[in-house]
């Protein structure tokens, strides 16, 4: 797989998960030498046989696991190795953009491009552009959001631990009584 290790230190830069069709975009990326791209370290490329194989679940899974954007690359219209895969992809993509917008995710975090095997330059351009777009949008940070959402259940767990410690049900020292910080009223 053509990929470089993520920038592990330094300022935040976007993470792009790229689903590339084996017959065109992936070949283009390979020939163009993605590793020599300016923003190579931002894109993690996943090779699929066809853009028609890109299940919307893959795209959203990538976002909920920490990607800031998803790029899909397929063959040009009428060039799909499996005839209609790229059209199926395009149609799903149109609805997916609407759905993510409704769920508070900027549709510009998703991009679909037709890139033939000969268009190595286009791979570079698209990844660079997308890196810029995502840099401007900032981190999506869904895993952090999940964590933050679930913190609203923490004070309850602390209270139970405190009660148990008080009643001697749990001798665990880590479960020392914690003051319950009541949430402000529903105001």
């Amino acid at each position: 797989m053509t990929r470089s290790s993520p920038a592990s230190s330094g300022p935040w830069t976007p993470r792009i998960v790229a689903f590339f069709c084996n017959w065109c975009t992936y070949t283009a990326a390979d020939l163009a030498g993605v590793s020599r791209m300016k923003h190579a370290s931002n894109a993690r490329i996943i090779r699929l046989m066809c853009s028609g194989r890109v299940d919307p679940q893959f795209v959203i899974d990538a976002l909920t696991k920490g990607a800031d954007g998803v790029l899909i690359g397929g063959c040009h219209p009428n060039d799909c190795h499996y005839a209609e895969g790229n059209y199926k992809c395009l149609r799903r993509f149109q609805m997916l953009k609407r759905m993510v917008a409704d769920l508070g995710i900027e549709p510009d975090r998703l991009r679909l491009e037709w890139i033939s095997a000969a268009e190595g330059e286009k791979v570079k351009r698209v990844v660079n552009e997308m890196t810029e777009t995502l840099t401007a949008l900032g981190p999506l940070g869904i895993p952090e959001k999940f964590h933050e959402w679930d913190r609203e259940m923490e004070h309850f767990a602390q209270r139970v631990a405190a009660q148990e410690a008080a009643s001697g049900a749990s001798g665990c020292a880590e479960h020392a009584p914690q003051p319950r910080t009541p949430e402000p009223a529903h105001a």
């Binding site: 679940q57 395009l90 149109q94 609805m95 409704d102 609203e152």
Partner: protein
């Protein structure tokens, strides 16, 4: 031998699941005879402190319906988990978040403001909101707080089994209760309904097109629907292909498309995205503008594809919403 102890509890629910238990009709009497009901707030009077006093794991099974939306529901879920050998998520809200989970599209403040101030039927000039605690005659009564996030039961406590449906049908309810009483339980984590899509038991299956190609989508109130033809063949969104069977196709037999209340089969991670994928891939046009025109026939994709499953979807909730 003492009768096995069973508890029924409700959280963020509409009461429909309780109805189903009652709908077991004569069967419920058989069940009541065989078990000792230790908690059932909708029908019998028990105190939470009686429950607290019971030894841990002394209840064989708790059937809990409703999503988890408040601190009290969360607390009861934990308490019942501790007291029960099996916790069963009963109905779509406990299983998937259900209709209640659709609130994960809106900020809590908007929901409270509408319900306590803006709803046309509300008279509340002082804009009084429920307070979490207040002083009254030297006492300090407290009220539960509303969480910002609606959760399915297994997002709060460990769940052993799921009985799907909005509400579950009497048939699958008896099947689950019988399996429990006869100790013929499937592997932990199972949804107690067949693991195959609804189309399998739908009488309209014969007319389901193998190569469907949508030139439009219509909603049920926008057309006269054929009473026998597969809804997809009529351009009506039907969640059947991505929904678990077991309801005996209650809706499609009754003239309405499936809206997905039984949740996904075990091979599907996100029910809404799965049906969206299969429907949208089969839109007829190939040009963006024409594709979008067909897709406009589904004006509310989140409400349509995640009618019951938003809380358990991959994204769970509109990601821009606050938790403070």
């Amino acid at each position: 031998m003492p009768k096995p102890k069973v508890a029924f509890y409700w959280c963020a629910s509409c009461g429909g699941c309780e109805e189903t238990v009652v709908d077991l009709a004569e069967d419920i009497l058989g069940v009541v005879e065989k078990v000792d009901i230790v908690l059932w707030p909708v029908a019998m009077d028990f105190k939470y402190k009686d429950l607290e006093a019971m030894p841990d794991k002394s209840i064989v099974a708790t059937l809990l319906n409703g999503a988890i939306r408040s601190t009290e529901q969360e607390e009861m879920a934990h308490l019942l988990r501790r007291k029960s050998r099996y916790v069963i998520a009963y109905g779509a809200c406990a299983h998937l978040g259900g209709i209640a989970g659709l609130a994960n599209q809106f900020p809590r403040e908007q929901i409270l403001k509408f319900n306590y101030e803006d709803a046309p039927s509300v008279v509340n000039e002082q804009k009084t909101r429920p307070q979490l605690s207040f002083a009254h005659n030297g006492h300090n009564p407290t009220l539960p707080a509303l969480h910002h996030v609606v959760r399915a039961l297994d997002q709060v406590v460990d769940v052993d089994y799921y009985v799907p449906g909005c509400p579950p049908t009497p048939k699958i309810t008896s099947a689950a209760v019988t399996a429990l009483l006869e100790n013929r339980l499937p592997p932990k984590g199972s949804v107690i309904a067949p693991d195959i899509a609804l189309c399998d038991e739908c009488p309209r299956k014969a007319s389901k097109p193998t190569n469907v190609s949508f030139t439009h989508f219509k909603r049920p109130h926008q057309m006269l629907m054929d009473p026998e033809k597969c809804f997809l063949a009529q351009g009506v969104v039907c969640m059947g292909p991505s929904t678990r069977s077991g309801c005996e196709a209650a809706c499609t037999c009754g003239g309405m498309p499936c809206t997905g209340c039984f949740g996904p089969t075990s091979r599907v991670r996100d029910q809404g995205l799965k049906i969206m994928s299969s429907l949208c891939a089969n839109v007829a046009p190939k040009e963006e503008a024409d594709i979008n025109k067909v897709l406009e026939g589904i004006p509310d994709p989140v409400g349509t594809f995640y009618r019951y499953g938003l809380a358990k979807s991959l994204v769970r909730r509109k990601v821009t919403l606050p938790v403070k």
